[in-house]
Amino acid sequence: VEKAIKEKKKIVFTGHSSGGAIAILTTVWFLEHYLKPGKTLMSPLCVTFGSPLVGDFIFNHALIRENWSNFFLHFVMRYDIVPRILLASLSTVGQELDLILKLLSQKAMFPIQGSVREASTFYTSVMRNASAVASHAACRLMGNTNPILETVASFIELSPYRPCGTFVFLPGHGKLVVVKNADAILQLLFYSAQLCSENQLNAVAERSLNDHLGYPSELQGCLNWQNVVQLDHLEGLPLSSSGAAAGNIATNIALDDLGLSTRARLCLRAAGEHEKQKLSNQQRMDNKRQEIELGLAKLEEYKSKSALCKVGYYDAFRISKYEDDFKANVTRLELTGIWDEIIEMLNRYELPEPFESRKDWIELATKYRRIVEPLDIANYYRHAKNEDTGSYMYKGRPRRYKYTQRWREHGLRMPVGSSAESCFWAEVEELLLLYRTADPGAFEVIRERTINLERKLDEWIRSNQISNDVFLKGSTFTKWWITLPIQHKSVSPIQGQINSEI
């Protein structure tokens, strides 16, 4: 791989069957190791044939978030059983699995004497499991509210495996159907392998094994890529072959080719609607950006006003004596509401996957965190919530700050926990509490932490991540720092800055 990179070649990782699974994992390894932001590198390609599923929905979510999803292309013959196997639990298919895997590895075509029964049993078991997984997912997509759904789901082993990347289904006769929506792919994996009639069972079971070995011959016929249909705008798919508003004839034919029933098409529509809903939620949040900016501007103003009084906005808010402080509190709470809504949506996967890696949102979130988190910390310690609940960093820190800090760290490939400039004051408050007594030995307790803090503070001030109002004469930080032992102060990196303020 390194050689190929040096020679600036485009790398394609590929594999059939379990080789496909290895190819997927290798590609992810490659992307994590070699694709750094800012570095130009030829993006890799991963092409698999009849590969089993590799990850769960979080794996898929992460791939899309990193914008890597487009590098993965998975070919699946219509009835090929292998991509569906991991939708079943081992306990339900274990008995036949060994034999089936042995048969597949022999690479002979069927029928093989005496295996039809096992093939049919295997196919039925896998499909039964796939049906449970697909219908549970579809119920969620369609917003089913019957409480018995979750009770029943907790009694059954539902496979956590989900598709990722782009799937290309091969219904036969040189046709190709391309699908990107992961929810839709899951439904298709089940519905496209259904029987037309009960008596087809043995034939289809046989086919489910033969298809796994049929990639070379099938794809030979597709090389000119004439018959490609992209399935998108899923929410508007026709529900029957004679679909009245048959806008797209090609789509219609593709759906028929895959043998999709009415129910299947409804599920695909639901997948499309869900994606549309995520995009519309994102639009709604984008529209709130202006409101956020306005709120932040008000707090910037409050900050500069406080700096004029030699006290700094952290302390002004901590004391909260004047109407300006009350107004700042209202603004703080309004912004909290907006960000909490965003966090809730992220937790329920109601925003598109790439949202957390959008540069504009990371910037806005970082700005928000740097201006507003100090006020949250001031509020926390002002009401002595550390005595009710525990220290801010361990018990009190809201998720909206934890998440947005991770956004920045992940986006810039910083070590976890390093972008902690917004919780500077929390550490100060804790050090303050530990250093209450004026005994000579008191400093030893906090020496390590203080040195660390000063070093980081110096960096943050230099890189403008924290403003120098922390050094104002009336600031809690300054007032505490002055009381530290002289030996420590004289070698501190920040003593120059403090002395210039006092």
Partner: protein, 503 residues
């Protein structure tokens, strides 16, 4: 069953016919038992019944709903089966017929190798006819009435109606009753009795339906919603008779207009952030009162000043917050919110903070307007239900926090009813002077002493906010009066020997 608790993660309880009612009752017993034990990790319970008669009335339905146990029950009813419908009808006159029927079914199930048709002659055609038509007629009357509460028996949990074509699952009570009627209306008396024995067949059939792609025969509507309804009708085999199909369609559409708990919770979260400025204003008011010259604290300021502009605004905020939280409770109790809503940290903490901050003002308002003279004291007679619910949520918080020693007074008094207790203590103090009856007087002294001890304890643990100790607060002034009264009593101790030793 009790033996299994703690050893088993999940349990499925099942039964057919009367066995179904036994299963339902056993499951209810188990759920109640688990509730009282608060087992962790929680044991999952699922009760599946087949052709079971109804078990309880409307009150049972509502209790099960409130505990959110409906999600543990799944009642399978075959399309024409008369048994589950029996108790929706007036059957008082048909008891002997029903007994004959039960015997017949028992025979059939005991000898499954014999064809049902053969045994069927054991039950007279007349009997079948009478019973069938009587039940059908009553069902029709029932479902035509506007609200189903006419019936003595009510269904609970989810119902799965199955037939040759498939199955549909319905949860809404009116829809369940309507479906019971419509599906039976397309049957013959014989069918309605034989269907009771067909559960094995139906379950086997429905269990294999996933394998086959089924297309919709006639034209399918293009709207997803209509298509869904059409598919449901197909699965319940109600597409033949026009009139029945139309009514079934209406019934299913009615069933689908149920609430979306997660959406409701999300909208509530948005509303919560919108009312936060009102809460902030009240916090600000308290802080101002704490610093004010009159040193009364916000409880007394609000109680005495009442109509001034500042208090007017605070009053509006108070009322708006009350409306919001009342709505939250109402939605939770009518099952419009997710099950674990009252265990979610966000809501438990927000409601607790609201209660500690605002209940004192509600108490102030109560005593200012003299409600206690009309209705009685706040704690027993005036307290709004929402506060009791919030007490419960807070008590049931899963994580017990470590007891930290406070270094300064809490920002909010941790007993939100503290001021109501002060008001009661004030009354006791007033009464103890004028009380003639020695027994009653002793009781009053005792109550006052207890209150003082309680208050001192709170103060010692710094669980009160500093407004309690403000110089001119009701509490401070009460303490002064009490001290004075005690010193007076000590001067005339000989007359009250029982109260000598520093009481």
């Amino acid at each position: 069953i009790a033996d299994l608790i703690g050893k088993v993660k999940s349990i499925v309880i099942t039964g057919q016919c009367i066995g179904g009612t036994t299963a339902s009752l056993s499951a209810l017993f188990l759920l109640c038992h688990l509730l009282s034990l608060s087992v962790y990790p929680p044991m999952s319970v699922l009760c599946i019944t087949f052709g079971s008669p109804l078990v309880g009335n409307e009150a049972l339905h509502r209790s099960i709903r409130r505990q959110r146990w409906g999600e543990n029950f799944c009642h399978v009813v075959s399309k024409h089966d008369i048994m589950p419908r029996l108790l929706l009808a007036e059957i008082v006159n048909h008891i002997p017929h029903i007994q004959a029927l039960l015997q017949f079914w028992h025979c059939c199930m005991a000898s499954p190798h014999l064809p049902v048709a053969g045994l069927s002659s054991q039950v007279s055609n007349d009997l079948k006819h009478i019973l069938f038509h009587s039940v059908l007629k009553d069902l029709e009357l029932l479902t035509q009435a506007d609200d189903p509460s006419e019936s003595l028996f009510w269904p609970f949990g989810s119902y799965v109606f199955c037939c040759q074509e498939g199955a549909i699952c319905v949860e809404n009570v009116a829809s369940i009753m309507k479906m019971m009627h419509l599906m039976m209306a397309t049957a013959s008396p014989n069918q309605s009795i034989e269907d009771h024995l067909k559960y094995g067949d139906y379950v086997a059939k429905v269990s294999r339906q996933f394998l086959q792609a089924r297309n919709f025969e006639e034209g399918i509507p293009d709207s997803s919603y209509e298509a869904g309804v059409a598919l449901a009708l197909q699965s319940s085999d109600l597409t033949d008779k026009e009139s029945v199909a139309a009514m079934a369609k209406e019934c299913l559409q009615m069933a689908q207009h149920s609430d979306k708990p997660n959406l409701n919770a999300a909208n509530l979260a948005i509303k919560l952030s919108k009312i936060v400025p009102y809460r902030a204003e009240i916090e600000w008011y308290k802080a101002c009162c704490d610093e004010a010259d009159d040193q009364m604290g916000y409880y007394d300021s609000f109680k005495l000043t009442g109509a001034s502009r500042r208090e007017g605004r605070v009053n509006i905020d108070r009322i708006r917050l009350a409306q919001f939280w009342n709505t939250v409770i109402q939605m939770l109790e009518s099952n419009k919110l997710p099950h674990d809503f009252d265990r979610r940290g966000k809501w438990v903490n927000a409601s607790h903070f609201y209660k500690l901050l605002v209940e004192p003002l509600d108490i102030a308002d109560y005593y200012r307007t003299g409600m206690h003279r009309e209705r009685g004291h706040y704690i027993e007679h005036g307290r709004e239900r929402r506060y009791e619910v919030f007490d419960k949520w807070w008590r049931e918080k899963s994580v017990p926090e470590e007891e930290n020693k406070r270094s300064k007074f809490a920002s909010l008094t941790q007993d939100s009813c503290f001021w109501a207790k002060v008001e009661e203590a004030k009354e006791w103090l007033d009464n103890v002077r004028s009380e003639r009856d020695a027994m009653k007087q002793q009781q009053l002294w005792h109550k006052i002493d207890n209150f003082e001890a309680y208050a001192r304890q709170l103060i010692y643990n710094k669980e009160v906010s500093k407004d309690v100790l403000a110089k001119n607060s009701s509490f401070s002034r009460w303490m002064e009066e009490w001290k004075e009264m005690k010193s007076q009593v000590q001067q005339i101790t000989p007359l009250f020997p029982g109260f000598v030793d520093g009481k």
